[in-house]
């Protein structure tokens, strides 16, 4: 149980909301430049510019650095007293203060000593730091006396008890503004040159201060030197170094949640258009929230953090109102790097911010100012990014500017910036096509308009191309053979779904790949051998040349695989395939007596529909193998089809009518007949009894139920023909808070009436002695398919 769970379990509590709005915030000091003093910041140990003491040594480019490049060094300190040190050319120590930093980690936790010294080590500040197995940036400072000699330096040193080897990267050092005696780091900046280079600055704003108070507000819309706006680094540990500033708000109608923090009680209301997983349309409607925030007539200083650090700030004091100013200063709030996080918690002694549970991680998509100055902030979850179109449309004039020979590893184009940037983590491949040849783009020089390419890919052959040859960018979904000129293989649909999300701009941390891949390996496994070409399981293969909504591509994959996708309350996209809940998955129980608010349970059979939007189906048709030149919008556009029909459902004594679900797939490979048949059968299993929807209200205490969860509903509202209560296995497809603090759920009946066979772990007892949870695994039946001495229905294969 988490601390939030403990609060939920209390009988009486006072809820409170917390909204954190993060906006882009410049890490510079206005109209002030501070040089970054150290050389070769990502090549720690390079001779001449780094000194070694004792038996110290180093290995360059040993491991991946926090920025993803393989430029981190390993520093070897075999003996106590060994050290590696930097030097600076013009960082004069005397009477000056500096802040130095370095990223460190080690194969096993331990310590190492960091020193800041003058050139003779007559003045020294030493800190023993604790290193873990993950990258951390260590920051320290020193104010040197007037007697300090020469330039200031930083050392990594081994003392007794310290580690003998550490990985290091990103050494930075800069003079403190006003020579303040404090840690004043700037975001890490790379200095690649070994010579004096005063253009590499930790703070690099070159705006001219007119000394009239009209300065920036450290936001991009108000920036007076946009070319040097300091957006920080995403891999830093603190918001200010990430180039972000966060404002916190709580409900107006409630006590301050954390009296020792600045949390503005501006929230008037929060309404949700809850995320819904539409099983029939295979679409997940974004979770949308609207937050209404009261205005404040006395907004005060905008930059207290900067002013307290000694930076120049805009001196316009207490004019205007909070939101009217905010929306002018942070006009770029829809930037995907900006965010609105919503948390829920309770008021109580000892309650801290960490005890508040995240309810949503949103992008800000719109802001509306009311006549009273109140702001309505419209937010959507990150699934909104799927509305992006890809591949990018390349201009007709963006052609080869120099003829390319078949062996050239680089090609010259009119505008390299029009092409997608290849990701550093290999999450997807950028592919272009010139004439009949496809190439993978591995590098992009937007200044020189050069693309670094791998030739003859995706089953094509490298060839010469003439000057002014047209270029298009395409998307290849599949797996290249080890010999790329051979016909490519398919790729698992789950892997493709993850790749599409990465193409949309979501980061790896924003996708629950672990769960999605677990679903893949359990229910949709596949293998590819890129050497022999052997494959197994369900693999999709497709080339997309026309610009398409990425959401459309995801929907097409979901239709065939019956994949549910949703954004969790933690802002991470997760998913499940339609399949029985495994015995290892705990079914959350929801009952009348313990959970459901009286008179709130509604059941909708959702039986009403037409041939294009059927709640219940009697036959499923899957068409695949698109005919060349066809759009794929109708069955006739495909070479192959398979139909699954349940005659008993269509009989006059059954439902007496046909209801057809049609799946048109551009993804299933032409030679694959197993996937369409399996998909058709699973869709029939899923929808033969329709998609019954259960709506209910729960008390706030059941906030532990999350969207996507399987729940077991036991309610007197759900009965068999005999009148006995029947428990139903449901999946939560929508969750939203109500205005009075309760929770409204919508759950889809999984219609999984049968018990399915799962391999049990060793040591389980016989069926009669097994617990209910143990009986969720499979037991062998008799010839009639019955198990146990009571002869109950046995298990089926999925």
């Amino acid at each position: 149980m988490t601390a939030y769970d403990d609060q939920l379990a209390e009988y009486a509590r006072t809820p409170q909301s917390l909204v954190k709005i993060g906006v882009r915030y410049c890490a510079n000091f206005y109209a002030q430049t501070f040089d970054q003093e150290f050389n070769l910041t990502d090549q720690i140990g390079t001779p001449v510019y780094f000194g070694l003491g004792g038996t110290a040594n180093f290995v360059l480019n040993a491991v991946a650095a926090p920025d993803g490049t393989v430029t981190a060094s390993q520093i070897l300190l075999p003996a106590n007293g060994d050290f590696l040190r930097t030097g600076t050319e013009d960082g004069v120590a005397a009477s000056h203060a500096f802040t130095d930093s370095i990223w460190l980690y080690a194969a096993a936790p331990g310590t190492v000593t960091l020193d800041m010294t003058d050139s003779t080590a007559s003045e020294i500040t030493s800190v023993v730091v604790s290193i873990t197995t993950g990258w951390q940036r260590f920051i320290m400072h020193r104010l040197y006396t007037a007697g300090a000699t020469g330039a200031h330096r930083m050392r990594v040193r081994r003392q007794a008890g310290d580690l003998a080897a550490v990985y290091a990267w990103g050494i930075n050092g800069s003079r403190n503004p006003g020579d303040q005696d404090a840690d004043l780091p700037f975001p890490y900046i790379r200095r690649a040159l070994a010579v004096i280079d005063n253009t590499v600055r930790a703070s690099r704003c070159q705006a001219v201060d007119a000394v009239d108070g009209a300065r920036c507000y450290y936001s991009f819309p108000t920036c007076q030197d946009p070319a040097n706006f300091n957006a920080g680094n995403t891999y830093e540990a603190t918001l200010d170094l990430q180039g972000l500033r966060e404002y916190k708000f709580c409900d107006t109608n409630g006590p301050l949640p954390f009296p020792d923090q600045e949390v503005r009680p501006y929230i008037r209301s929060t309404t949700w258009a809850a995320q819904k997983i539409d099983a029939q349309k295979s679409v997940t409607h974004s979770d949308r929230a609207e937050i209404v925030l009261n205005d404040d007539a006395r907004p005060g200083l905008w930059d207290p953090a900067k002013s307290l650090l000694g930076a120049k700030v805009n001196t316009a004091l207490e004019q205007g109102t909070f939101w009217r100013r905010w929306i002018a200063i942070f006009r770029n709030y829809p930037n995907p790097a900006c965010y609105a996080h919503i948390y829920r918690g309770f008021i109580g002694g000892g309650v801290t911010e960490s005890l508040y549970a995240q309810r949503g991680d949103y992008l800000m998509t719109d802001a509306r100012l009311g006549a009273d100055g109140a702001l309505t902030l419209v937010c959507a979850d990150r699934l909104k990014l799927l509305s992006l179109k890809a591949p990018p449309k390349i201009s007709l004039s963006n052609v080869l500017t120099v003829a390319a020979a078949g062996g050239d590893a680089t090609i010259a184009v009119a505008s390299a910036s029009e092409f997608s940037a290849p990701p550093t983590d290999g999450s997807f491949i950028v592919t272009i096509q010139i004439d009949a040849e496809k190439m993978n783009v591995t590098g992009r020089d937007v200044t020189g308009n050069i693309l670094t390419v791998q030739r003859g890919r995706w089953g094509t052959t490298a060839a010469a191309h003439s000057k002014n040859a047209a270029i298009i960018e395409i998307m290849e979904f599949g797996t290249e053979m080890a010999t790329p000129s051979l016909v490519p293989l398919g790729k698992n649909p789950i892997d493709i779904a993850i790749e599409i999300h990465r193409r949309a701009g979501l980061t790896a941390a924003q996708i629950n790949s672990a769960q999605l891949l677990d679903e893949r390996d359990t229910w949709l496994p596949s293998t590819v051998d890129t050497t022999t070409g052997a494959t197994s399981g369900t693999l999709f293969r497709r080339t997309v040349t026309d610009q398409t909504d990425l959401e459309t591509l995801i929907t097409e994959i979901r239709e065939v695989t019956i994949l549910f996708l949703w954004t969790g309350e933690d802002g991470i996209i997760s998913g499940r395939l339609f399949a029985p809940a495994r015995p290892t998955v705990t079914l959350t129980e929801i009952t009348d007596d313990a959970d459901i608010v009286a008179d709130s349970l509604e059941i909708d059979d959702q039986d009403e529909g037409d041939t294009t939007n059927t709640g219940r189906v009697t036959r499923v048709l899957v068409a695949w193998d698109l005919i060349a030149g066809k759009t794929g919008d109708q069955v006739a556009d495909y070479n192959k089809g398979v139909a699954v029909i349940e005659p008993s459902l269509e009989a006059t004594e059954g439902y007496g009518q046909q209801r057809l679900m049609t799946i048109l797939s551009k993804w299933i490979q032409p030679g694959d007949s197993a996937t369409p048949a399996s998909a058709g059968q699973h869709l029939m299993d899923r929808f033969r009894l329709g998609a019954r929807l259960y709506k209910m209200t729960l008390e706030r205490r059941r906030d532990d139920v999350k969207i996507g969860d399987f729940v077991l509903l036991t309610s007197s509202s759900v009965q068999l023909g005999t009148g006995a209560t029947q428990s139903r296995q449901l999946q939560v497809v929508s969750k939203e808070p109500t205005e009075d603090g309760l929770i409204r759920l919508e759950c889809l009946d999984t219609n999984i009436f049968k018990r399915y066979f799962f391999w049990a772990p060793d040591g389980l007892p016989d069926y009669d002695a097994a617990t209910t949870d143990q009986q969720r695994y499979g037991y062998w039946s008799d010839d009639q398919g019955l198990v146990g001495t009571a002869k109950v229905a046995g298990y089926s294969w999925w």
Partner: protein, 273 residues
């Protein structure tokens, strides 16, 4: 019984006043204590004792004060004493309120003998057993001359009134599933002048200044009902509610005396019961 007191003046907001502090944690500027917002804080940069807030009123800005208000601080929780200095030199050394232990972190109100007009004022947070457990902080600090009411107020204010909204859903079987509480600002009305009315001279001077300079602007102020009674002495942080009006009603058909009903609500929400 003591007469009600309203503290609404604050020298920290005088023209030319410069507010500084012994140190400030990042994003917790000293100027935050003068904006009437209990949720914007000054917070000390260190836990050493003492920490302080200084006010410099400028060459020709010296003023007098006889009461201190501190709203939303951690003084009680932090075992911090408060002390007030006022002087013609800086740093001020003349003590006008000796070190004492405050009784409320929500709204602390303390009166002292006015020292006469001074330029430099200091509000000090100190502890007898340094260092502090946590850095001292305060949301609002006010120093100024209090306004003592010449008469008791009418009986329309219930100092013990709490408003709490609760949502209590039940199951089909009638079991209560839980309670979600929502605090509501305490509301009431201060009826100054009761039946006999306030003297016109009071209304046209001090009280009018309070009405126009603070009450009608929806800015908060401090109110103490009766310093002589422990039940009624805790100070309140009040403001005019939206839509509230303060009609001055002549008593007895003349304008020699007035009665003024002031609708009020808590400016800082207290935790719901």
């Amino acid at each position: 019984m003591a007469l009600p007191v309203i503290a609404w003046r604050t020298i920290l907001r005088n023209a030319g006043a410069v507010v500084s502090a012994s140190g400030t944690a990042s994003e917790y500027a000293a100027s935050n204590v003068k904006d009437f917002r209990s949720f914007t804080l000054w917070k000390a940069a260190a836990v050493t004792s003492p920490q302080y807030i200084d006010v410099d009123l400028g060459v020709s800005g010296a003023v007098d004060a006889d009461c201190l208000v501190v709203v939303n601080s951690n003084s009680v929780a932090n075992a911090s004493n408060l002390k007030v200095y006022a002087d013609t030199v800086t740093p001020p050394t003349n003590v006008v309120q000796a070190s004492y232990a405050p009784t409320s972190d929500a709204v602390e109100f303390k009166t002292f003998t006015a020292p006469g007009a001074k330029r430099y004022w200091r509000i000090e947070f100190n502890t007898g057993s340094p260092p502090f457990a946590a850095a001292p902080y305060a949301g609002v600090v006010m120093l100024g001359l209090k306004m003592s009411m010449p008469e008791y107020i009418g009986p329309d204010i219930d100092p013990f009134l709490y408003d709490v909204e609760a949502v209590t859903p039940r199951t089909v079987g009638g079991h209560a599933l839980g309670v979600l509480l929502r605090g509501v600002p305490r509301r009431g009305s201060l009826r100054f002048g009761a039946d006999a009315g306030l003297a016109r001279s009071f209304l046209t001077s001090d009280f009018n200044g309070f009405l126009t300079g603070r009450y009608l602007r929806h800015e908060p102020w401090c109110f103490q009902l009766d310093s002589g009674d422990s039940d009624f002495s805790p100070a309140r942080w009040l403001r005019r509610p939206v839509g509230g009006a303060a009609p001055r009603q002549p008593v007895g058909g003349t304008y020699a005396r007035f009665m003024v009903p002031l609708p009020v609500e808590e400016a800082m929400m207290e935790a719901a019961l």
